[in-house]
Amino acid sequence: MSVGANPLRDPQDRRLPRIAGPCSLVIFGVTGDLARKKLMPAVYDLANRGLLPPGFALVGFARRDWADQDFAKVVHDAVKEHSRTPFREETWRQLSEGFRFVPGEFSDDRAFDKLRTTVEELDEARGTSGNHAFYLSIPPGAFPDVVGQLKEHGLATGAGGSWRRVVIEKPFGHDLASARQLNDVVSEVFPQEAVFRIDHYLGKETVQNVMAFRFANAMFEPVWNSHYVDHVQITMAEDIGIGGRAGYYDGIGAARDVIQNHLLQLMALIAMEDPTSFEAGNLRREKQKVLASVAIPDGLNLHTARGQYARGWQGGQQVIGYLDEADISRRSTTETFAAIRLDIENRRWAGVPFYLRTGKRLGRRVTEVAVVFKRAPHLPFTQTATEELGQNALVMRIQPDEGVTLRFGAKVPGTAMELRDVNMDFAYGGAFVESSPEAYERLILDVLLGDPPLFPQHEEVELSWQILDPIIKGWAANGRPDPYPAGSWGPESADEMLARDGRTWRRP
């Protein structure tokens, strides 16, 4: 046996899970909502599924006067409340030995000195071997500070074969210029391949299944083009309002918050050509090609719509309007609903508009991609028989109720020839104890494994901003968003926008 190749591993042995190598995860902003509700439970769930290395360590960094035990208590509560898998004392014991907490401000040199010694102590005591991932769960304004400190205190580069990675969350800037600036800050310290931008949507099983659906099947590909597809609708609707996120949301709005990352990424996956392989570089190249060929239609008022939720009834509850939310200015022009039309100018998609919409306080929580097909060129039926017949549609339901729906016409039972649309549904299996991992589990594991296909790189981010910037700029110069009652499907201007093209929104 040669030293180096592990004889216990075999590519044929697909039962063996990928366990991350020895490493630690350092979370900045560990007191935040995301850390408590998503990151800590995801770390625990990974440990519970046996996917973390035995010596894994979790380091918290925040402006709190905590000792390691206080931190452990916080993690314990977060895990108990939010983890997906059942709480097991054994898993907890394994994990909790690796908890460390470093109190301090981002500008505090002593705190980063302490972080450095902590990390070195972990290498010694837990065998993390100099491999550390820094998760910046903090406002982008604090990035330069933290990243600079990491560099200054020698935390940004590992010795020998060890790695250092940095994980950043959206928003990746608020326009092209700021995205570039942010990238400059991070890339000055960390090399491109060590930067992991988390778009949790891409970690979802159903989003990954879009690729399986498109590239593993023979029967959808032939119709996946402008000869058969009339248009595509991508919807991400939320039923909640902005909640306590006024500070983050006001001034950002729906387009920057959702379209720039989630919806454009979904669109790229739906529209891209087949990648040479699922290796990160190949996948990214295809997505970039799609984003680069996007054209914004002339006449922004005609092909985009934006709205702001007003008071109303949503799901049986009376809710307040956006302008009445706490900490929101009465004159805020931030949109909570955005719908845009994009055209992809390549051979496959020329002439097929992609309609993207997202909003808060809409009818229900749903994310889906609907590929709507052209009508049959000739219908050998009487006009009355096909009155109720719509267009065929293939709907990928991303969440909730993950699955695929095929919508097509069928005969209504009875003597007369009468056609009507029916649905054929496929549902993915439900949530089993060990399977169906949360998006964050998948993504954190990928960060620790150094597996980048699901993380957008800065080129994709910049291309997305190039698409969105003119639209947002146009809106800013053009009055206020249209109010829509909470619990509806958006402002009338959104319906008018599609009516101009002779189409209607699908009710998701």
Partner: protein, 386 residues
């Protein structure tokens, strides 16, 4: 919704399924496989509960088959359940009288079209599951040597000798977390392993498989020692720098030892049957690694085995299995070598219906290739051993 049917035929059961699905608003479509559970009166409640739980991850039609006494009139009773917390359909079939000897006649009309069939024996299972009539229907046959009522190691060894691609055993599934940690240990410390030891309660089939796997992969002697349990308690890989070891005395928390580093606790709880089954159903192709392991096992246990018996030819055996595997992968890509076996397989496959007969040639060729692969393997091994 539950429907009880007494003294019926399989087609009545099939139409009850259809009706139930319609009445429930057709919730059960999108099923991916038929899961045949071969059970008995005493064990069916637990087995069906586990199968239903698995159904949430792998929506399936679960056919529980209870073969009753052979005396009396041939009779089929069925309980059809749809919905009620499971995402597929469940049918419990009781076969009595002359029918007990012909379960395939009941199962055949109830299999989902075109989807794989998986058979599971939660308790005692045939020594050669692939030649069992119900096992023959299945693409994957899951046995559990640990639940055998007879001597478990011996049961496992007998099954190993009859191994056919598609066979698998939950004793092997139970090892996955152990194997993952050992592989991770060796990832971290790529040292040369000179030997190994496995400790487990007496007659533990998982321990036999673990030892066989290690012998096969590392080509070293692996000793099996008896401990007080529960289950597998310790696996150690010896090296010049010390042991890479996993020690789990209480069936829950293990201590992970790596030379030169502090011991670390690792959660390594024993998993529920439903979790084990879910892992099995995640992939339905042949498990080559298991195949290698059982073949090492089959050759090292001529008859039952005493724990701790020295096995002088082990490293030799391991090498053989490795060579055999190479041969088989090479051979199985060549359909020409499958010809003699394919001819033999045709009548068995073709005996069903005329429609099938026409397609039997293609099917037999496929089956033949597989079988021929394993047969060649055996031949190659014989040649290498002599």
């Amino acid at each position: 919704m539950r429907i009880d049917l007494t003294d019926v035929t399989a087609s009545a059961v099939a139409s009850a399924l259809l009706q139930a699905r319609r009445r429930a608003g057709s919730p059960a479509m999108g099923m991916v496989l038929t899961f045949v559970v071969v059970t008995d009166e005493a064990g069916h409640a637990d087995a069906m509960a586990a199968a239903r739980e698995v159904s949430t991850e792998h929506p399936s039609r679960v056919l529980g088959i209870i073969r009753g006494g052979r005396r009396g009139r041939a009779r089929l009773d069925a309980e059809v359940t749809i919905g009620q917390g499971a995402s597929g359909e469940t049918v419990l079939l009781r076969l009595t009288g002359g029918l007990a000897a012909h379960p395939v006649s009941v199962a055949t009309p109830l299999l989902l079209p075109d989807s794989p069939v998986v058979a599971w024996w939660p308790g005692d299972a045939p020594d050669d599951p692939a030649s069992d009539p119900l096992g023959w229907l299945a693409k994957r046959r899951i046995t559990d040597a640990a639940s055998a009522t007879r001597s478990r190691s011996a049961v496992l060894a007998r099954r190993a000798r009859h191994y056919t691609p598609g066979d698998t055993d939950l004793a092997w599934t139970r090892l996955t977390p152990w194997r993952a940690l050992l592989a991770a240990g060796l990832d971290q410390h790529p040292v040369r392993i000179t030997g190994g030891a496995v400790e487990a309660s007496r007659n533990n089939p998982s321990a036999d498989l673990m030892a066989a796997w290690l012998r096969c992969r590392l080509r070293v002697d692996v000793e099996i020692r008896v401990s007080r349990g529960p289950g597998l308690t310790r696996v150690a890989l010896h090296s010049a720098h010390g042991d890479i070891a996993l020690h789990r005395p209480d069936g829950r928390l293990a201590l992970f030892t790596i030379p030169g580093e502090a011991d670390r606790p690792v959660a390594l709880q024993r998993r529920e049957t439903a979790e084990l089954l879910a892992e099995e159903l995640r992939r339905l192709d042949n498990d080559d690694i298991y195949e290698d392991a059982v073949q090492v096992l089959a050759r090292s246990t001529p008859g039952g085995r005493q724990a701790g018996t020295p096995r002088p030819t082990e490293s030799q055996l391991a090498t053989t299995a490795h060579a055999a595997r190479k041969t088989s992968t090479r051979r199985s890509t060549k359909p020409a070598t499958a010809a003699p076996r394919a001819a033999k397989a045709t009548p068995r496959r073709g005996a069903k219906t005329t429609a099938q007969k026409q397609t039997a040639k293609g099917a037999a060729k496929k089956a033949g290739t597989k079988k021929a692969g394993s047969k060649n393997k055996k031949a190659a091994k014989k040649a290498a051993a002599s």
